[in-house]
């Protein structure tokens, strides 16, 4: 049987890709961000998860407004990255886990989630950067991308994203594959790129949210999307991916490590590594 070993979460600012490519981890601007990953990387080296299920949002690489699924699940043998238009390096393909993908898809539809399934799926920085950050030496895990629409309103509610995550966790726990699985939530924390409110950051909310991921994982699901945009910014809403990832690793957890740093680019950057207790 598969075993869910915990949940990881990180912000996914595109500039991180440039910083990795240029080897800027020790640069004074970047060091407080990258240093936060050390204990999480040690934990991953020790635990060696075989598969990562990555909850993320596409920013206009695979999905455009012509077809915008609320939830999409990858079911491909590999996932390619590609040119996103702003010059961050394109990464080599990531291996999929189609057996697990279909186990998840079957279970989600059984649970009445009307998802889109993708046998071809380009993955953008929101998927690739967490893998690069948590597995810096390469040799990353097999992957299953789960894409949540945070681009075009109406967005799925936080409560619905928690339910999605929970159902993914059920599917993994019931999967016959003898693998260690880690959940990854990608995005956030508070930031807003657009409009006169650009630059908005909400440190007290972010810190409360990070703590809630440990001991009260549905705390943020009390808020509507509108309230979450108000509290976290139009892009801070990406915390939906964290909520889903945490719900997919149910039960008590203990914190391996956390890090919070303002700012990277326009974003309050958060990192969290949780081990299933």
């Amino acid at each position: 049987m598969a075993r869910i070993i915990g949940a990881l979460a990180t912000s996914h600012i595109p500039a991180i890709g440039g910083a990795i490519a240029k080897g800027l981890e020790e640069d004074p601007y970047w060091k407080p961000f990258f240093d936060g990953f050390g204990p999480a990387r040690d934990w991953i080296r020790r635990e060696k998860p075989d598969v990562a299920i990555v909850f993320y949002n596409d920013h206009g690489l695979n999905f455009f407004l012509d077809k915008m699924p609320t939830f999409a699940v990858g079911a491909a043998p590999e996932y390619r990255n590609d040119d996103e238009g702003w010059g961050i390096p394109t990464l080599p393909p990531f291996k999929g886990a189609p057996d697990l993908s279909w186990a998840i898809i079957n279970h989600l539809v059984d649970r009445e989630f009307d998802i889109v399934t993708c046998q071809e799926m380009l993955v953008d920085h929101a998927f690739t950067l967490p893998i690069k950050l948590f597995w810096p030496e390469g040799g990353g895990p097999l992957t299953v991308p789960v894409c949540i629409n945070t681009v075009q309103f109406p967005l799925p509610s936080a409560k619905r994203c928690v339910a999605l995550g929970r159902a993914v966790g059920e599917a993994v726990a019931a999967w016959a594959g003898d693998k260690k699985v880690v959940m990854i939530g990608s995005g956030g924390l508070s930031h807003q790129l657009d409009g006169q409110r650009a630059g908005f950051i909400n440190k007290p909310f972010d810190l409360k949210f990070m703590q809630s991921m440990i001991d009260e994982p549905e705390w943020a699901a009390q808020y509507s999307i509108h309230e979450l945009v108000e509290k976290t910014g139009t892009q801070g809403i990406e915390l939906l991916n964290w909520l889903a990832a945490r719900a997919a690793a149910p039960g008590p957890v203990h914190k391996v490590h956390s890090n919070y740093h303002i700012p990277i680019s326009n974003t309050a950057a958060g990192m969290l590594a949780l081990e299933a207790a």
């Binding site: 455009f64 650009a198 950051i201 440190k203 509108h226 303002i262």
Partner: protein, 119 residues
């Protein structure tokens, strides 16, 4: 929606905006491709015509007017690809939208560290 009280300086990218901005966003989405970026740079007007931008959108593209592009239905994730062509990052966009210099905008971000730690 909870009869959405407005959030200052924020326009949720909803169905109305997605319809209004479709041509503009579609053009920006095309900038994922290097050949398309080159074609735009070679002849911006022809490229905008090919994607059917309306006058408001074309004017905002010509003027590099970020708030104008948002008002014309642009979504920031796609507009970021246009900004990439111009060699601008999201802090340039933030500065342009808030009427600050880039240095002042960056300083304001750093100053957010002074917020309290608890709600």
């Amino acid at each position: 929606m909870s009869a959405s009280r407005e959030i200052f300086g924020t326009t949720p990218f909803d169905g109305a905006m997605a319809q209004r901005g479709y041509a503009l966003n579609k053009m920006c989405f095309s900038f994922n491709n290097a050949a398309n970026r080159a074609a735009f740079k070679a002849d911006e007007e022809a490229y905008m015509r090919a994607y059917g931008l309306n006058d408001e959108q074309a004017k905002a593209i010509r003027g590099r007017d970020v708030l104008g592009l948002l008002a014309a239905g642009g979504n920031v994730y796609y507009l970021a690809k246009f900004a990439g062509i111009l060699g601008l990052d999201v802090q340039d966009l933030g500065a342009a939208q808030t009427g600050m210099s880039k240095e002042a905008f960056k300083a304001r971000l750093v100053a957010q560290n002074e917020q309290p730690e608890t709600m």
